[in-house]
Symmetry: C2
Subunit: 322 residues, 2 copies
Amino acid sequence: MNYRIDNLQYCKWSREVFEINREAGLDAVHVTVVYHEDFDEFLERTKEWDEHFKNNSDLIFLGKTYEDIIKAKKEKKTAIFFGFQNCSPIEDDINLVEKVQQLGCRFMQLTYNNQSLLATGCYEQKDSGVTNFGKEVIKEMNRVGVVIDMSHSAQQSTLDAIELSEKPIAITHANPSFWHEAKRNKSNEVLKSLAQSGGMLGLSLYAHHLKDSTNCKLESFCEMVAKTVDIMGSKNVGIGSDLCLNQPDSVVEWMRNGTWAKATNYGEGSKDKPGFPDQPNWFLDARGFANIEKGLLKVGFDEEETNNILGNNWFNFYKNIN
Amino acid sequence: MNYRIDNLQYCKWSREVFEINREAGLDAVHVTVVYHEDFDEFLERTKEWDEHFKNNSDLIFLGKTYEDIIKAKKEKKTAIFFGFQNCSPIEDDINLVEKVQQLGCRFMQLTYNNQSLLATGCYEQKDSGVTNFGKEVIKEMNRVGVVIDMSHSAQQSTLDAIELSEKPIAITHANPSFWHEAKRNKSNEVLKSLAQSGGMLGLSLYAHHLKDSTNCKLESFCEMVAKTVDIMGSKNVGIGSDLCLNQPDSVVEWMRNGTWAKATNYGEGSKDKPGFPDQPNWFLDARGFANIEKGLLKVGFDEEETNNILGNNWFNFYKNIN
């Protein structure tokens, strides 16, 4: 059995998006439900999702374990797994880790771009690694079954998290920096350490993480996948598209700025290009998985490897979350 | 005119304590109103203080500027200035800096012992200095008139804050590490940098910061003051006793642990001595200011210098907060 999984999307959720994901054959999607929200605000997000689940029960349901991915495939639906891009919902309280897990959270980044109470983000000048509180939280995440996600974290913090965590961690959405230098992309050292520990890298389709941005060629992307597999092996690589379908530019501004500065920060963008970048034409939405499938076969992957990269590797990773 | 100021107390507040402070001749006290509280919880603390002010209006009132210290002296009362030992009340929101100032906050530590969103605490293994958000918050604190307090911060973070802040900062309650090595005490490098920038050091009477702890001799303390003045000059040194009069031991446990760990941390204490340490017998409460006065004169300070250290230096510092 083969599964298709996109392990990071933050779309403007609607029936249209759920239909597209189903048309793309996605059995599971890890969706971002929180950027900067605190616990109470996360609770509000879960209520919004309750509405989505109620109104689109023929297409989606809340996923809690890997068995829900099997169920989704069988029922031709998409299992939705909740995740946070920042640790703000646990505030400064170790006891909230279990609470967010109970409310559905399965992935939590220890940091967004800036320093958090747990670790350092990739936009800080100095990286002091995982903090005292961070060490406690990693133990607790391991215990209750929330995956540590270091997509937006700085390098030392990421290496620390890999070492400290008793369970494999994930980088749900980022690319290797050997292919495209970006603060968010990852060094070979991180990729190797991640793979050795059984962790997963979800490759991103977000233009700022791609070589030549929006003009990135499918072939170039697939050649990058092949080189990444040379470093990490074919079992530790998947897709985390970082797709932000239909989101207005005000959302990316909020993602970058939250409430931490009075002036505007442009993050991976610039004053001239402050909004969401356009997607490459071969991945306008999740239906682009079909293009990646062809592209991977073309650069020499066999069918099994291709299916592993497009979902089975994530499926196996989900087996060990709880 | 001479002023007596204790620039850090966290007592179990009661009429008895306010009477003792007045008997000690204190014209102003900077009181800790927050350790780990968020904004809403800080609001609750201000309501508790409203009750204290109402029930003890013959002894205390809320201080907002240095002019309230003059008023207090005239009316034989003690002006109470609010401060935070952590930055938790501003959460992740730069706009809350102005709100806490409007509600009376005049001092805010950028960190308690652990990493905060702003800087690194003295109990962390690595110190990455002031963060991106921290830089924004320092600018905002300067703008609205909240003093940056680095008493519980790690060294690089403290040096960064001194450099980044356009106004002088404070270390409201700590001692020099040349006298007593403790994570919370400060190196000569920090003392020099602080003094050069016009900042203030409030010397602590908390046993864990004293040479020989509870058995510390008054003479030893006053000799330390003299050596500190050799390093910093006599205008940048005051008292911040860190007095926790009448507090039960459960409070120090909460101060150290908040909600960040499941196991118990003993901070400056130990498993054998988990509670508040006893005060030295010459500073059981603020009336010990009279003993320090005698002690300072005895080690060679003249009257003017002694009065400066016991309050006038803090008074002058308050002139430049707003």
